[in-house]
């Protein structure tokens, strides 16, 4: 479990999750709305970073349990709920990687099996080749650039939100995005 939860933040007026967060702070049952809204996105983020279905489920579970525990302390310090949630997910993935290094079970990019076991197999096959190739090159990026790519393209976070997740300025995230896309373009279209 992540021991370094982000500092509590309160939702801002521009936070699209504001109503749901306030409702969940008043009544834990209302957290169901946020769970439904972000389960797939957190799972996808964890899976793309960990490359293993079961590790991704474990990290997703830890992320939501930690978020539910920390939610009453969520206070307004300029961050959105989803940036806060993905910071928890990032810390959880980092902890999972440390454990994996200890177990020496880091999967290679080629071993990526993107879909959950009960997903549609036809859809898996159709996109598998393109996905593997893109995943392979994304996986070869330095960690900070890979994080920016996944948070931007898989989870749809803005550069400002990614900065809050990664403890970087918005400008630094834009530079990372530019460098990452430049690297990927060179590898995908040499």
């Amino acid at each position: 479990m992540s021991r370094s939860l982000p500092a509590p933040e309160r939702p801002t007026a521009a936070d699209p999750d504001l109503d749901a967060v306030l409702a969940a702070q008043a009544d834990r049952a209302a957290f169901a709305v946020l769970y439904q809204r972000y389960l797939d996105r957190v799972y996808g983020y964890c899976f793309y970073l960990l490359g293993d279905h079961h590790d991704a489920e474990d990290a997703t579970e830890r992320t939501f349990l930690a978020a539910l525990r920390a939610l009453p302390g969520f206070r307004d310090e300029g961050a959105s709920f989803r940036a806060w949630l993905f910071r928890i997910a990032r810390n959880t993935v980092l902890n999972a990687r440390r454990g994996r290094i200890r177990r020496r079970t880091e999967p290679l990019p080629d071993s990526f099996d993107r879909a959950a076991p009960d997903s549609d197999p036809a859809g898996m096959v159709a996109q598998a080749d393109e996905l593997r190739r893109a995943l392979r090159v994304v996986h070869q990026l330095p960690d900070d650039r890979r994080q920016v790519i996944l948070l931007r393209f898989v989870d749809g976070l803005s550069s400002r939100e990614i900065g809050l997740v990664l403890d970087r300025s918005e400008g630094a995230v834009r530079v990372l995005l530019h460098r990452a896309l430049r690297d990927l373009a060179a590898r995908l279209h040499p």
């Binding site: 834990r28 049952a29 209302a30 957290f31 169901a32 709305v33 769970y35 439904q36 389960l39 797939d40 996105r41 799972y43 996808g44 899976f47 793309y48 279905h53 489920e57 997703t60 579970e61 939501f64 349990l65 539910l68 993107r114 879909a115 959950a116 076991p117 009960d118 997903s119 549609d120 036809a122 996109q127 393109e130 996905l131 190739r133 893109a134 995943l135 994304v138 790519i149 996944l150 931007r152 393209f153 898989v154 989870d155 749809g156 803005s158 550069s159 400008g171 834009r174 530079v175 995005l177 530019h178 896309l181 430049r182 990927l184 373009a185 995908l188 279209h189």
Partner: protein, 118 residues
Amino acid sequence: MITRTRAERLDEAVDGILSGAAPAVEPELRPLVDTASLLRAALPPLPAGERFEARLASRLLRPGHLVWLAVLLGHAAGRGIGRAMRHPGRSLAAVGGVVTALAALVAVGFTRRAARRG
């Protein structure tokens, strides 16, 4: 006049791609924007498995709240239509499970009510 950096212009173009647009950019940024479009297509959101979704929901669930059940049933229904068309047998089994769960909830409700009256 404010001069935006290349990284800022690229970031705006990515915003456009993520919202489904085809942004116009200067030629030197075009390869990067094309790569961003490829990533958009090649890195789709990955849905969590339905069994995992239900299992985690039950861990997060506080007993006595049916909001979770309603939300999950709605979510499963939204996801399930496409799958039901492709896997009717599996869908019938899932529907059977949901009906059983609802019947159990109703039974629990009646039992509690009877206990209160008794």
